[in-house]
Amino acid sequence: MPRITRGGVALGATVFTFAAILVFGGHLFGGQSHSSAPPSVPAVDASLTVSAPAPAAPAQNSATGSSGGALPNADGVQAASGDPSPTAAPLRARHPDSLGWPEIVLYTVLGLISLILFIVAASTLWWMLHAWRSPESLAATGFRRRSARRPLSFSLLLPARHEQDVLGDTIDALARLDHPIYEVIVIIGHDDPETEQVARAGAARHPRIVRVVIDDHIPKNKPKALNTALPACRGDVLGVFDAEDEVHPGLLRLVEARFEESGADVVQSGVQLMNVRSSWWSLRNCLEYYFWFRSRLHFHAEQRFIPLGGNTVFARTALLRGVGGWDRNCLAEDCEIGVRLSTRGARVAVAFDPKVVTREETPGSIGALVKQRTRWDQGFMQVYRKGEWRKLPTRRQRMLARYTLAMPFLQAATGALVPIAIIGMFVLKVPVPLTLLTFLPLGPTLVTVAVEAAALGEFGKEFGIKIKLWDHLRLVLGAFPYQLLLAAAALRSVWRESRGHGGWEKTQHANAHRSAESVAA
């Protein structure tokens, strides 16, 4: 006797309900009406017009017609049986007028825009799902739990700026990592004595592991800080962390093993935002990170073109020195170094394990989020304009690079299209098939929302957060406003980039300040 589970009961109940609906459906619904005739179909088709019956024909040729008065019917009249053809004149279809040039152009443009948007949305969706495309590929995205045979030495860079509140804990956490040979290099600006004090204290607590390097550059930004520390690194592998990061103690062992088994030059491990409930958009921001590190980056690694993440990224020190370190003028130095390493044919391995991800927080406010996004988008544009990606070996990679780096433009364009689309909804009159075509991009978008809802459940399970119905609701409701936010940031970045075209140095100056702030955030 098999044990009956709750699931089994539920399944049985569903099956019975279904069967009952089938069996009694006829009774329940059919009893009302026994009409077999289909509903009468009103005429709405304007292309077929009904002409009045021809009036020219005499209505009556009948010899035996009644006079309608005192005169009797005629008797014995010999006549032909009259014209038996039907009285209605043959109708001719009026064919719809052919399209004029403006309409053709308009329809073509509309169709093209929908197709492009569809392709963008569909490819984004597909890459977003890359890790789950089969159970095997999902298994391949994690770390192998096997230690390396030959240990590597690590230099962990920790740039910090005005972050005296969180830095101490981070230094202590990094100093407790489970690995025999590694060092932590804290990079502090020369104009930031409070942070320096915290860093020095940390170095004092862990003298064999932690060192402090002072960055004298003016103005300051993250790539310059990293470049300052690069010559001082002694490890085989260099890792980058941020001051607020919460790093898993076993991470270095796993990364080391990953380096060995994949033979890669760069290993990117996962980063995850954790504060799901702090605001309406933080949930979406967290999921964005989740999909990016859980799935999308694996795709880029496989394609051998990757915009790297800003932290928990490890690279062989010699390779970094060989390419001259980070681009000091780039707003998205992480992306830039990834692209540059990709063009040099560097192998990148990405590994994600919910247990060892580096945990972070979302920006503190919508303003900070928009600023952060603006910086990233502008950074992507800078990388695009720099043109390093043109050196990628295959056409496929170059296409992917062009597409990935131009994404902010596309996003901005989509944002700009939104008001136009809303106006068009009321003004334009287009044929039904084209109207349906314009809904095409909505398809992948809605599937994306469904997939996000599925991922939210998994996210909650993996990180031990209880996801409520309200969270799902927030996810769905927030989808459109959040996209608007991103589109606004993209527009802002395009605007800034175009404004700063002539005065590059000046813009950089302003941005560097901001970017330092937003890194700090």
Binding site: T14, V15, F18, L22, V23, G25, G26, F29, G30, Q32, S33, H34, S35, A37, P38, P39, S40, V41, P42, A43, V44, D45, S47, L48, V50, A57, P58, A59, Q60, S62, A63, G65, S67, G68, G69, A70, L71, P72, N73, A74, V77, Q78, A79, A80, S81, G82, P84, P86, T87, P90, L91, A93, W132, L138, V432, F439, L446, V447, V449, A450
Partner: protein, 884 residues
């Protein structure tokens, strides 16, 4: 083949089975079953998509989602208009391809479920050779397309590597399958179950999300379409999705109980059993058996759902069983394989001798196969050998040969597209179902049944007839002109006749008239043909035409041919073949070509030594059908009153049927002329020369006087003549009315003496009316003519003892009223006869040119472009392959 076998050992087996599937369906493809209304509807809707960019050939009312016929439309665009014997057959070729694809998918599914090659092959064989499957899967049913999509979805769901992309594909396929035929929604539980068990727990969450979202999105395009068209909810003046769904779910006539032998549902099931007594009966046991095999359980559940649908009270469509066949094949093969496996295990046990088990198994298999084969045999005869569609095809050919392009037809949808492609306007070819259900169609026919000329009545049309309505009226006012086939597959072409109140066909010429004309024919005429002419089974127009022709020149009658299908419907012979020297035949052809209806032949074909003339199928009374035996002695008097609209510069020729002395008379002088009693054919001859036009025949009795009233016919240049006997001189003052005033419309005529009360002589009298005599006291009257709200006064003076015809014509100031005293004192004889061919007769066309369907160059370009693309792609692929 060896190389292919190395690639995949299944290839030869599958190839053979697919060829078997295709072969059995291609055999007698167009002959069985008879083209059904449904098939024609889907084809016509696809045609509307390709031709007019509309979703249906009438207002689309959300009866089914349009996915199915959009696919058929694609096929139509690819194959072009000339593919297949007719439009439905062209669609059936697509169905054969779909059947092959379905078989291939079933193989994949069986293999993915874990059946052995033999098991999978058994499933394919069952589906390939069942007569029910053969018959239904080659009919143009949406279910065939839908089930192919469903199987594709199932194959993808069972992806062995559990790919997410396969789930995307499966969801799209399942969505399309529902959009193709909404009954596929019944499989939602089965599909959901399969999606659940076929996905790995690690990725299930995403697979489910993707599957549900994509399926939902694909299906919701239907709703979206309704919203975009503004037809989601019911409203005035438009159809709506809601009403369509309501009709399909709740308002369809329930099929009745399964146990009731008279019920519609029982009829449907009997139809299935007639083709295949095995499959419908074993489906329930097979489905229940399948529940006990692990890997078959979801499919068994799916089949059980269908069985429940059949059992429950409610509407049951004929193609419903199509969805069950692949599942049934799969389940029987799976269960069979399981049984064979058990038997093998048993045979391995030492206690049972293996040869006993083996021979028992062989016996059982052979017995079952023989039994099923025997049961299927009659089904094969029907589906593979009988040409059930012949009556339909003949009727279609007849219509295209005989029915004028401008005539209105009510037809079965099965031939709708073919008639439209034949060059008819879509408003002139009406699908019978829409006559009473579509307001647009009703608006095209404001006079109801009288606006239709023909009905092509097919078995499915008769089966779906309603008791009331325009279609019913049209059929009850129609008479068969041609009949094709007999029994259940009989197809009738009916002529709707506005005049005929009964179903009696137009009478043939009375034999006596035939005898008169036969006597005048050339001695070289064919004896059989002459005998046929005198038999009384010849159309009146043939007799009249032979009269006219033999007056002008010797006529050699070669043949009078009648169509057996028309003969069966009681239609008189309407085709004659004349022989003679070419110049004579040419003159005859020219004469006939110029004639006006009803004497205008619809086919004149001229060769060097034969002229074939055929008159249109709509037989008409022209004066030779019913009159008494012809008289040959005595004199009569005739007066011609020309009341035609517009100036008519012609004179009349009276041509005696028996060749006796006729004569001519001017048409514009209303004087009595003496004419020998007898039967005449009346012709008009233009004064300035030109072709004489036959108008009508009539018979004059000796001693009688007549007024020959000429009215204009319904069409320009047609004449409607009426020969009215004049009243004898009696006491009192009899008066009659001839109404020839057209401008004012229907008129009212009343007369009053000074101070007396008015007598209404006629009311609502319109052009062309001749009344009988009514007695009026002699005296002076004031005639009041009322029409269109206006009134005219005309003086009338009636003399005692003289019958008077009041002639109402269009005058310069309102209707004019003329008094014509009836009765002739000493009529002058007719002028000498002068019926000849004009000196300069126009040359007739060498033969009637058959108008081919004008091929749309665009439609031709699409198949060509597709072929080109396929070629280019295959070359590119080949080159790439080589390079590797």
């Amino acid at each position: 083949m060896n190389r292919l076998t190395r690639v995949n050992p299944s290839i030869p087996v599958v190839a053979v089975l697919l060829i078997l599937t295709a072969g059995l369906r291609l055999l007698n493809l167009s002959g069985s079953p008879i083209r059904l209304d449904d098939e024609g509807t889907y084809i016509a809707q696809a045609f509307a998509v390709t031709q007019w960019g509309e979703l249906a050939h009438y207002t689309y009312w959300y009866d089914h989602p349009p996915g199915g016929w959009l696919q058929i439309a694609l096929w139509m665009m690819l194959t072009g208009p000339g593919f297949g014997a007719n439009a439905v057959t062209a669609g059936r070729y697509l169905m054969v391809i779909v059947a092959v694809v379905t078989a291939g998918l079933l193989w994949l599914l069986a293999r993915r479920i874990g059946l052995s090659r033999w098991g999978a092959a058994a499933a394919l064989i069952i589906m390939a050779v069942s007569p029910l499957a053969i018959s239904l899967s080659r009919s143009v049913y949406l279910d065939n397309l839908a089930i192919a999509w469903l199987l594709a979805a199932l194959v993808l769901i069972s992806s062995p590597r559990q790919r997410l992309s396969a789930m995307f594909g499966a969801a799209i396929c399942f969505g399309i399958s529902v959009l193709t035929k909404e009954t596929m929604l019944l499989f939602v539980p089965m599909v959901a179950w399969l999606v659940w068990i076929k996905t790995s727990p690690a990725t299930r969450r995403y697979a489910l999300a993707v599957f549900a979202a994509v399926t939902g999105l694909v299906i919701s395009t239907y709703i979206l379409m309704a919203i975009v068209r503004g037809e989601l909810l019911p409203g005035p003046g438009h159809v709506s999705l809601w009403e369509g769904i309501k009709f399909q779910l709740w308002q369809r006539e329930a099929g009745g109980a399964l146990g009731d032998p008279q019920s519609l549902k029982r009829h449907t099931i009997d139809e299935w059993l007639r083709l295949d007594p095995v499959i419908p009966l074993v489906s329930a046991p097979i489905a229940l058996g399948g529940l006990f095999v692990d890997r078959l359980r979801p499919y068994a559940f799916g089949l059980l759902t269908l069985v429940l649908m059949v059992v429950r009270p409610g509407y049951l469509p004929v193609p419903f069983v199509i969805a069950a066949i692949p599942l049934l094949a799969l389940l029987s093969a799976g269960i069979g394989e399981r049984c064979v496996g058990r038997l093998r295990d048993l045979a391995r046990q030492p206690s049972v001798p293996s040869h006993v088990v083996r021979s028992a198994a062989v016996t059982a298999v052979v017995f079952t196969a023989a039994l099923i084969g025997t049961l299927w045999w009659p089904g094969y005869r029907t589906s593979l050998l009988t040409d059930d569609d012949a009556p339909m095809a003949q009727a279609q050919q007849w219509v295209s040969d005989n029915v004028p392009k401008d005539d209105r037809l009510i037809v079965d949808d099965a031939i709708w597209v073919d008639l439209i492609r034949d060059g008819r306007e879509r408003q002139n070819v009406i699908w019978s179902y829409k006559v009473d259900t579509d307001q647009q169609v009703q608006a095209w026919a404001p006079h109801g049944w009288a606006d239709y000329g023909w009905v092509v009545s097919t078995p499915s049309m008769r089966a779906n007839m309603t008791e009331h309505g325009v279609l019913n009226d049209a059929i009850s006012h129609a008479r068969p002109v041609a009949t094709f086939g007999s029994g259940g597959s009989q197809v009738d072409v009916l002529r709707v006749d506005a005049e005929a109140s009964s179903n009696a066909p137009a009478p043939p010429a009375v034999p006596a008239f035939g005898v008169q004309v036969a006597a005048r024919l050339d001695g070289a005429s064919n004896r059989d043909a002459v005998a046929a002419l005198q038999s009384g089974a010849v159309d009146q127009r043939v007799v009249a035409a032979l009269t006219g022709l033999s007056t002008m020149q010797p006529v050699v009658l070669e043949q009078i041919s009648s169509n057996p299908d028309e003969e069966a419907a009681g239609t008189p012979a309407r085709e004659v073949v004349l022989a003679g020297p070419p110049d004579r035949l040419t003159a005859c052809a020219a004469f006939l070509q110029e004639q006006k209806p009803p004497f205008k032949p619809d086919r004149i074909s001229l060769t060097d030594n034969a002229l074939t003339i055929r008159f249109p199928a709509q037989g008409q009374e022209i004066g030779l059908g019913s009159n008494p035996a012809p008289v040959t002695t005595g004199m009569a008097a005739v007066r011609v009153v020309d009341m035609r609209l517009g100036p008519a510069q012609d004179h009349l020729e009276f041509v005696r049927l028996d060749g006796g002395p006729g004569g001519s008379a001017p048409s514009h002088v209303p004087d009595y002329r003496a004419v020998a009693a007898g039967s005449y054919m009346l012709a008009t001859v233009p004064d300035r020369g030109g072709m004489p036009l036959m108008r009508q025949a009539f018979t004059l009795k000796p001693g009688a006087t007549y007024t020959l009233a000429l009215f204009s016919g319904a069409k320009p240049n047609e004449v409607a003549a009426q020969l009215a006997p004049d009243g004898p001189p009696t006491a009192g003052s009899p008066v009659r009315l001839m109404q020839a005033a057209q401008a004012a419309g229907a008129v009212k005529l009343s007369m009053s003496t000074a101070g007396g009360s008015p007598t209404v002589l006629a009311d609502n009298a319109s052009y062309g009316l001749i009344t009988g005599y009514g007695d009026q006291p002699a005296g002076a009257y004031d005639a009041v003519i009322t029409a269109g709200g206006r009134e005219w006064h005309r003086p009338v003076d009636l003399t005692d003892g003289v019958p008077v015809t009041l002639l109402l014509t269009d005058g310069t100031d309102g209707p004019a009223l003329e008094e014509l005293p009836d009765g002739a004192a000493a009529p002058a004889p007719l002028d000498p006869p002068a019926l000849t061919f004009p000196v300069e007769s126009p040359k007739p066309d060498k033969a009637r040119v058959e108008l081919a369907t004008a091929l749309n160059p665009q439609e031709q370009a699409i198949p060509a472009a597709v072929v080109l693309i396929v070629c280019v792609v295959s070359v590119v692929v080949l080159l790439k392959h080589r390079r590797r």
